[in-house]
Symmetry: C2
Subunit: 382 residues, 2 copies
């Protein structure tokens, strides 16, 4: 096991009708900026529940945060937040709203010029952030219980990640009931996202961490069991609750402690989303199986382990095929051509981008060997 | 799944040579009271490492905290802490030292008379506590990552529990190397303690929580695999690390979220420790199998599930036997007679104590039906 440090102070308030607990969680007298997305919270009752719970607070609203949230949009919220002197941010929506709000939380008090600067350094940069909380409505990113965010700069088609303990949400409310009305596409994307988050922290090489491995396998097993149910019985509360808890624990840091992590699938996926607008979950389901094939020698032990523990198979290739079959079984297509993207072209694009970024920002994976050429080799097969 | 709220802000610093990180964790300029036990930290080098790391801090020491720490001992530390105006507590030792230090942390600023009062109310009572951290040296209680403590009042032979988020450690340092020199008896007790902690949060009835179940089963599987190794290879770092992480995650609250919990084995066990001085882990290994037999109808589903997932058996009684066999395999005896205690007499003692406490403090378990008479029926078979 590798040395590690684990610290996660997010308070999770999980269950039916928990949005009503906002007044116990938001500091009394706070001036709140409530951030949200394209309007689904008006249809599923979440907006109304949140506003009802926040009676007596001063609330300004900032809506219209898009999927794969844009820096440009966030900066408008930063301006509003500064002008209105808000001192608490409440993200109401899915992972994109949570991610955007983390960026906004760090950017409002940022005094060193353009806040994009703190996206470009792979280490915490913030000395201050506006406190924030979440009402999270989509099981997918785990953003509700971590300090990470992914932001896209539309002008340059760049999608980058930052992480800083200063932007841990103080709390996240999860009421699985609000996911009953999610469009199937978002449910499926969320399942793929969760699956790949867990695998980015598992499918590398063994450093003798059986407990972490069993926790990861437990999330995957639950995901495999619950996913068909959520598609056939979308109103089943327990299934929704189980899926949401898988997403949250899939990326709250715990299963990644002491292990070797990968994240190359995500890094390549971000490029595809930035270049072609593909859904995040879609990019992951496309890339991961071929990345595993490309790295099959180095990942052999863990591929066999996952196969035995979860799928009942015993070869690396069988595990990869079972993973693809799972994605297909929930209606997720796993080839670029399925989405009208030409693999050779995408591969060349990503290769050139990775190469242009050089060794620090353009090399990924547990061995740092997923560079432009590797990404090219992987994506050609996608 | 049941509604839940999860909040655990303890920073875990885990790994080799991590005691040296104390200066990054203890606030600069803190006046520290360092608490410890009977002196094992002088033999295993932990005292020296801690003092070395704390150079430049003002440190007063309070040693001599016993296993199953006494209220009477803690009150001497409270007096010292008040007189010395300490503003940080550093527990250096096992779960007993951590537990005692939690009590001391709450008791020093307590202004409403005898601090024993906050032990007697089954709800958080503290509005203030001295901040504390731990250097934890024994994998067993999980006290390093929770807000609970068990304290014994020697004068009245009462062993009670309290829990209050005010006494969460700010950090806990876990260096598995310091456990290489643990006496075998403490290692075995710690394994039994961890096993039973997990089972108190699992072996009840199903409320559709497959993820939590898999997490618990993952801890138990790791414990079953690693325990023989720790006995045959006491210097194996990874085995020690894996066991410690099992203990910590076994009782940091996570696996208990949204599930139905039991804890009757602990409540009966505390009585046996208070009356006969039996080690805590010993009492748990004695009681749990017979408590499961007594409640075999209500626990049937989960007994079968544990059997299938962990032991490869498929009846409730087979799971119970496998559990007993595991305890025996690590050298833990599971009958009162093995420790010179007459079962009938112990059963009558505990019955009378539970009955005397009445319905609020004398009824336990997931159905509240482990009262004095039930405890009597269980203990007669122990």
């Amino acid at each position: 096991m590798q040395n590690f440090s684990y610290y996660n102070p997010v308070r999770i308030v999980f269950g039916q009708n928990t949005i009503a607990e906002l007044p116990k969680l938001v500091p009394a007298g706070a001036k709140i900026m409530m951030t949200y997305g394209g309007g689904s919270i008006f249809k599923n009752g979440v907006y109304e529940q949140a506003k009802q719970a926040l009676q007596g607070y001063a609330v300004v609203e900032f809506g219209g945060i898009e999927a794969n949230p844009h820096y440009e949009t966030c900066m408008k919220a930063v301006e509003l937040g500064r002008n209105e002197h808000v001192n608490f941010l409440l993200a109401v929506g899915g992972g994109s709203v949570a991610d955007a709000t983390k960026f906004i939380a760090g950017a409002i008090p940022w005094t060193k010029g353009d806040p994009w600067a703190f996206m470009m350094v792979h280490a915490p940069q913030l000395t201050e952030a506006i406190p924030m909380g979440c009402v999270i409505t989509l099981p997918a990113t785990g953003s509700e219980m971590n300090y990470s965010a992914v932001i896209t700069r539309a002008a340059t088609q760049e999608k980058f990640h930052f992480g800083d303990p200063m932007v841990y949400p103080q709390f996240s409310i999860i009421d699985p009931q609000v996911t009953f009305s999610l469009p199937q596409r978002q449910v499926i994307n969320g399942i793929a996202d969760t699956f790949v988050h867990v695998m980015e922290q598992y499918m590398t090489y063994d450093v003798n961490t059986p407990l972490q491995d069993h926790l990861a396998e437990g999330i995957i097993r639950t995901l495999l069991d619950e996913s068909p149910k959520v598609l056939s019985k979308p109103d089943d509360y327990d299934v929704r609750a189980n899926l949401f808890w898988c997403s949250t624990l899939g990326l709250n840091g715990l299963i990644g402690m002491g292990v070797v992590q990968d994240w190359a699938t995500h890094m390549i996926g971000h490029e595809l989303t930035a270049l072609y607008g593909l859904d995040h979950g879609v990019t992951l389901a496309i890339i991961m199986p071929e990345l595993w094939r490309y790295k099959i020698a180095g990942k052999k032990g863990k591929l066999i382990q996952l196969g035995k523990e979860v799928f009942g198979v015993d070869t690396p290739e069988a595990t990869i095929r079972k993973t693809e079959e799972f994605f297909h079984s929930i209606g997720m297509k796993t080839k670029l051509a399925d989405y009208g993207v030409q693999a050779e072209e995408a591969a060349a694009h990503v290769r050139d981008r990775f190469n242009a970024r050089g060794t620090k920002l353009g090399e990924h994976g547990e061995h740092g060997d997923i560079d432009g050429n590797a990404a090219y080799a992987i994506l050609r097969n996608c």
